[in-house]
């Protein structure tokens, strides 16, 4: 069960503002986290606490394929991202590195910045404790659940290669 305070953004939050390219000469997640969201929200790092949740409307993570973006978000302490929709490559990258993403229009419409949410990933349930509301996120396809339950794509690939060898 995840629990945290919401940091809410609008549409088309792109990878250049999540982690600007000027920092892409580093790839250590903790170092990247120090610049997470700084171009659109300078106080983000001051406000964020471990377990907090990023929320956005549509097309979150659009732009480049840099995995530095979900890595920076995860290392900043964010437990999951909830949006109406995600950009395709960002979605893959987050699943592959084990940053949970949830899609729910209703949760985004009815939640404000600062609200406290409780998220049950296994059931796809989002509870807004501040407003006493409950929402359901779209379930992951079975295929992706395999990657998530293995703990990310690297672990999943290890298992696949091991089963090929037998």
């Amino acid at each position: 069960m995840l629990k945290g305070k919401v940091h809410k953004y609008g549409a088309n939050v792109d990878t250049d503002v999540i982690i600007p390219a000027r920092y892409l000469n580093i790839y250590d997640p903790a170092e990247l986290a120090k610049h997470c969201m700084e171009d659109i929200d300078q106080d983000f790092l001051k406000r964020v606490e471990p377990g907090d949740i990023i929320m956005a409307t549509t097309n979150f993570g659009c732009g480049s394929s840099r995995e530095h973006a979900p890595l920076a978000i995860k290392a900043a302490g964010i437990s999951c991202v909830i949006a109406k929709s995600f950009a395709r490559i960002f979605f893959r990258n987050a699943i592959n590195i084990g940053l949970p993403l949830l899609e729910s229009e209703e949760a985004v419409d009815k939640t404000d910045s600062g609200d406290i949410l409780e998220v049950d990933l296994a059931r796809g349930q989002i509870k807004n404790l501040t407003k006493n509301l409950t929402f359901t996120a779209s379930p992951y396809p079975d295929f992706m659940t395999g990657i998530i339950s293995a703990g990310g794509l690297i672990e999943y690939t290890k298992q696949r290669l091991a089963s090929r060898r037998v």
Partner: protein
């Protein structure tokens, strides 16, 4: 099946695939660059296999921060150089390379009907060759380097038909900016785009690369063109292995068909801070600029440089403006040199840089200060893309960028005389 489905199916053990289906696809080529390779190499090591699945199908290119801009990027280059030497993978060194998406087609490393993944969102560029190519992240690269395949959801395809004739100074950049302006930056999210129509038939290969390049700016997974005589001509001297051309079926299914008449279209400009924020150049009306960039994987090819040179020839860049011209690859640089284009640029007061991504992603070689404005032939104008979060980027074709460099403000090439 449509074009995307045909190519994907050919890379699985299935006869047919349909949108929404999850499949494992074999990859013909895996690309990594100096941003995505370090994490890919680190994650590859974690998998615990010692060798990549096929060293001839793994290619690494130094382009974003080269020649090395600082110690950190020098370390990254070194790591890639050593990894490729150890694995026997293809490696493009400074001086023998260029921007990955201009370089790989030029080298014949991507061919029609192939399935390519790259750790760079603009990997979709190769759709111009009738290949299914798409951007992925570093962990995906690591897994694919180990296994030779990748999981993928078969995308629905949106078909775009462009009717009419292209006017003077109108190129692929205008068609794709217009399209993104119409459907929005998530207008093709999770989908493939298939481009067709008589305006596309008339478009050069360089113009098609420009269009496919920006499919990602509409959120698409790929942007595909059918193979025609122009494609075959481009491929003929380059291909070093056999390839297969796929055609969409007559009764192929599309999620949507969108048609445009492009006759009389004006050059398009995307205003800050989204590529979908498009207007015609005359609607933009005289916005003053500090810098003009002509280059990138979108518009750094020979045809782009020729167009820019046509306008810059015998003229001077406005005293207030820095004009930066970046040929996409060493070969393009050399061709531009022998055609006399480089001399035209330098005499006009532009700086000509060695092939690099440079300012396109705010890396180096033309980073913007607070309050500065740049007209650029690149593909993204997000906040802070070229430097300060308080700078602005306007996207256009090379003709508009060159004309604006002379005028000192954004104007139509038709107004330069």
């Amino acid at each position: 099946m449509n074009l995307a489905e045909k190519i994907i199916a050919a890379h699985t053990d299935k006869k047919e695939v349909s949108p929404g289906e999850f499949v494992n696809v074999r990859v013909d080529l895996i690309l990594a660059n100096d941003i995505t390779a370090p994490i890919a190499i680190r994650e590859f090591r974690r998998i615990g296999v010692s060798k990549v699945f096929d060293p001839k199908r793994v290619v690494m290119v130094l382009d974003h921060f080269v020649p090395n801009k600082d110690i950190a990027t020098a370390e990254i280059s070194k790591m890639m150089r050593e990894f490729c030497a150890e694995q026997g993978a293809l490696f493009f060194e400074v001086g023998k390379a260029g921007i990955e998406h201009a370089l790989l087609p030029e080298e014949g490393l991507v061919l029609p009907g192939e399935l390519v993944i790259g750790g760079d969102s603009h990997t979709c560029t190769y759709g111009a060759l009738g290949a299914f190519s798409t951007g992925v992240g570093s962990t995906d690269l690591a897994a694919a380097m180990a296994t030779g395949d990748i999981w993928m959801k078969v995308p629905p395809t949106i078909k775009f038909i462009y009717h009419g004739n292209l006017g003077k100074w109108i190129g692929g950049k205008d068609l794709i900016l217009y399209t993104i302006g119409d459907i929005g930056v998530d207008g093709a999210l999770y989908s493939a785009m298939e481009f067709s129509g008589e305006a596309i038939d008339a478009l050069s290969m360089d113009g098609r690369f420009t269009m496919a390049n920006m499919a990602i700016e509409a959120g698409a997974k790929a942007g595909l063109f059918r193979v025609d005589n122009k494609t075959q001509l481009y491929i003929k001297s380059r291909a070093r292995r056999p390839y297969h051309v796929y055609e969409p079926d007559r009764d192929a299914e599309y999620a949507k068909v969108i048609e445009y008449d492009v006759s009389g279209m004006e050059p398009q400009v995307a205003l800050p801070h989204l590529p979908s924020n498009t207007k015609t150049v005359s609607e933009v009306g005289g916005i003053e600029i500090d810098q003009a960039v002509i280059g990138s994987c979108t518009n750094g090819r020979l045809e782009d440089l020729r167009v820019a040179a046509q306008i810059l020839k015998g003229r001077k860049v406005h005293p207030r403006v820095r004009c930066i011209v970046i040929p996409g690859t060493q070969q393009i640089y050399l061709d531009a040199l022998s055609e006399g284009l480089i001399e035209i640029f330098i005499k006009a007061g532009a700086v000509v840089s060695t092939p690099t991504c440079g300012p396109c992603c705010g890396g180096h070689m033309g980073v913007l200060a607070e309050g500065e404005r740049c007209i650029s032939t690149t593909n993204r104008n997000f906040i802070g893309r070229m430097g300060s979060p308080k700078s602005e980027v306007y996207l256009s074709n090379p003709a508009v960028a060159a004309a604006s460099a002379i005028a000192g403000s954004i104007i139509s090439p038709a107004e330069i005389n």
